[in-house]
Subunit: 476 residues, 2 copies
């Protein structure tokens, strides 16, 4: 049977998200990120292309590893200025029916109590089309503006994130029963108080005794996305995620990553395929292979090496401004850089030794994933080959220019894949979770979040005597 391939659009509320310098291209519209119509038009386009969703990344700091300051990032507009992702959703939801919205927020930046309500609100307003990409934060510049000297160390951040999710699951899954809102005009009862429970959370980082402020939304818990690649990150993802974003420039690297994740899902008591895995990729396509190659060359002529190095420096924690652009890559004393470059070269091997400039050039279009260049049929061949060999479920598609890259994909690649039976002919109606797994709107029983439902092993709901002293309302 032909394997179905899923597309997700990778975006951010900023200029030239993962393609620094491409804002100079005359067709790029990303400087219009401040306009509502930029986003609503994009949402309509992606829904026409039957994308699973739009995934909006975020940072709350600047990329200031390169050169030790924010000058190059500002000059390049490299994810600065950057605006809030959550606030785009309701406008895009109003003009679409099926498209999912995967929103990135960090567990270290907002208390879980109001955050739980934010996502419940969006899940209501979108009729259950919200996903949440959980990040624990990685830019030290963000932590500093929250008054910390630096961010918490990596594993402590994940421990805190574990409790953050516990609070959220208790609020989303365990506070309101499905039939709590009765809206009984005759009796004058809007909510049956006996069916609304105080979660009674007392933990290391958070104390949240009360009820969730929102009534149950279509999905309750939004679809959980994650992108952590460290061992601790993979464990966290295996326990929580339903969609996982991976980035690797070669099939070999991706195959290892995917297999590691699927093993971890099993180790967490879930099915190997309980999470959809999307691989970062960029597609440059046109009517013919030749036209696509010419387009790619043209894009490269706008790519900013400095911008690519700003991102690579931030991602790897190495200041690449210290090296001459023409220095051979062997001069860079960093295992992370060396192994990233080795993986890049595997994808695009022309036999010569790479320089620092090549790193920036590579990272300058679409980040550290592969760039597939060719006609719709050529690109479809490669996507199918990658899915078959690596076991990913689909691709998280960055843009070179926007909306041009997405228009090209919808025009040239989607029809070919659909014709081959490798792409959905229509959306599965209903919530994002149901569209992804076809098994209903709510978290499955095997998922960690289900433990916090009323009566579940993780539930800490208060008794009536504790929650509402002196009255008898219910026996939870």
């Amino acid at each position: 049977m032909t394997r179905r391939i899923r597309f997700n659009a990778f975006d951010m509320n900023c200029v030239a998200h993962q393609s620094p310098g491409l804002w100079r291209h005359p067709d790029d519209q990303s400087h219009r990120y401040k306009e509502l119509s930029y986003w609503t038009d994009l949402a309509i386009l992606l829904e026409r292309g039957r994308f699973d969703g739009i995934f909006i990344a975020d940072v709350l700091g600047t990329y200031d590893v390169y050169g030790g300051n924010d000058i190059a990032a500002l000059r390049q507009g490299a994810q600065i200025p950057v605006a809030d992702p959550l606030l785009l959703v309701s406008a895009m939801a109003a003009v679409t029916e099926h498209l999912g919205f995967g929103i990135t927020t960090g567990t270290g930046f907002e208390h879980p109590y109001p955050f739980a309500r934010r996502l419940s609100t969006l899940d209501h307003l979108t009729n259950g089309r919200v996903g949440w990409n959980v990040v624990t934060g990685y830019l030290p510049s963000a932590a500093r503006n929250f008054g910390a000297d630096d961010q918490l160390d990596h594993d402590t951040r994940y421990d805190q994130a574990d409790e953050y999710l516990e609070v959220l699951y208790k609020l989303w899954e365990g506070s309101w029963e499905d039939d709590a809102v009765v809206r009984d005009a005759a009796r004058g009862v809007f909510v049956d108080p006996a069916k609304v429970h105080h979660i009674g959370h007392r933990g290391t980082h958070y104390t949240v005794p009360g009820v969730h402020l929102s009534e149950p939304s279509p999905q309750r818990t939004p679809v959980i996305y994650q992108a952590g690649a460290s061992p601790r990150g993979v464990r966290f993802a295996a326990e929580n995620a339903e969609a996982i974003f991976v980035a690797g420039p070669s099939k070999r690297v991706l195959t290892q990553t995917v297999s590691r994740i699927r093993d971890a899902l099993e180790a967490a008591g879930r099915d190997r395929y309980a999470a959809r895995i999307y691989a970062l990729a960029t597609i440059v396509t046109d009517e013919t292979d030749e036209a696509a190659r010419a387009k790619h060359e043209e894009y490269l002529s706008y790519a900013s090496v400095e911008g690519g190095l700003v991102f690579m420096s931030g991602w790897m924690g190495i200041d690449l401004s210290r090296y001459d652009l023409d220095a051979p890559i062997g001069a860079v004393q960093s295992n992370a850089i060396q192994s990233a470059v080795a993986a890049f070269q595997e994808f695009d091997d022309d036999g010569r030794e790479w320089t620092v400039r090549d790193i920036g050039r590579w990272a300058g279009i679409g980040g550290i994933g592969p760039v597939f260049v060719g006609s719709g049929a050529t690109v479809a061949d490669r996507l199918q080959e990658w899915v078959a060999e690596t076991d990913v479920d689909g691709f998280n598609l960055a843009y070179a220019i926007t909306p041009g890259t997405f228009e090209d994909i919808v025009r040239h690649v989607v029809p070919v894949l659909t014709e081959r039976g490798a792409y959905a002919e229509e959306y599965v109606p209903g919530t994002l979770r149901n569209a992804l797994f076809g098994a209903g709107d709510r978290l499955p029983e095997e998922h960690r979040g289900a433990r916090y439902r009323l009566g579940g092993p993780g539930s800490t709901v208060l008794s009536d005597a504790e929650a509402r002293p002196g009255v008898v309302v219910s026996a939870p």
Copy 2:
């Protein structure tokens, strides 16, 4: 010259905002607060009526003073469930051109750094139509779910709010120069780093050294709303607010309040009319006085006395469940309640002594403001009389049922006031601030926020040596 009257719609992301029980009315649509079309249709209606804006209140807790628990609030749907207000804005902005959006959030619930970006994002997306209603929080149940035993005491909350606004002003007004975003394709420069400043804030509650994440939005600082009535609240409003919401059931009470606020504005070095003052009111209107009176009687038959007492108990901090509904008001040992009732009776004097039931009944439609009942002409008479005598600029209009109350106002009252020259014939184009004052998009020089502009007396921006050690970028 006929004085212009301004309308603002008073709403909340919940059921039957200030009219508990009215969700049972067959025409009330407020249970649809979870649907986007409920909000977009309302926004279109309000813009047709040339309302200045929609003001969306918020709480992050439950009303649990009445009876000492949340049971009655839940049963009545009294502002619980309650959803996030910010997330409604982009959808409503996409279907309107002029309507302002006044969003309530508390200064105690989110760090100012990400919050500054949220409002800048909305100011961009709405083309400068965002207002922010600053609250310091008043429900102890909210504080408890943030892990505190109780909220900070009243004056400490305001001190913290002072610093919260200082951080925001520095980010909004003092970090990015107007011409920082150059988008110079030829030079490959998106932002001129020399024009983006690190704010260098080190205070008692917050340390925020860095740059604002957003580029300058049309208004930079959103229009600041406030509703505090205490002496400390009035001082805070006089220093910061550009729109002030007041609530008083009689002209005498309102006149005193308005005069106190205008004096405070002068004491803060501003013009007496530097803030627009809107008085809470509810309008029940129809073709004739008789039809309006019948409609009011019908609404009252749906009003929930218990719901009204839940709100009054929360607002006053007195558990009114301890009293028999038929107890005379003199039995309630509370100066706050006594003076509120005295003011109510002044508006609606039928000579008899009030009972506890009367308080709940009164507060059950539109809260503690007056209810004006009559034909369009009758209501217009009263509104003009109140504006002339009290010196308010307009009204913050609660609903009995929604959107019915607003439809009635647009149909019956707006045309009469417009005909009399007492209501705008069309919107002033541009930002909300310009629509309110006709003096441009930005804060005026006399406003506290202007002190934090680059070169202003409150600016703390870092030098290059501090912000970007080892390089020379600019001389702030």
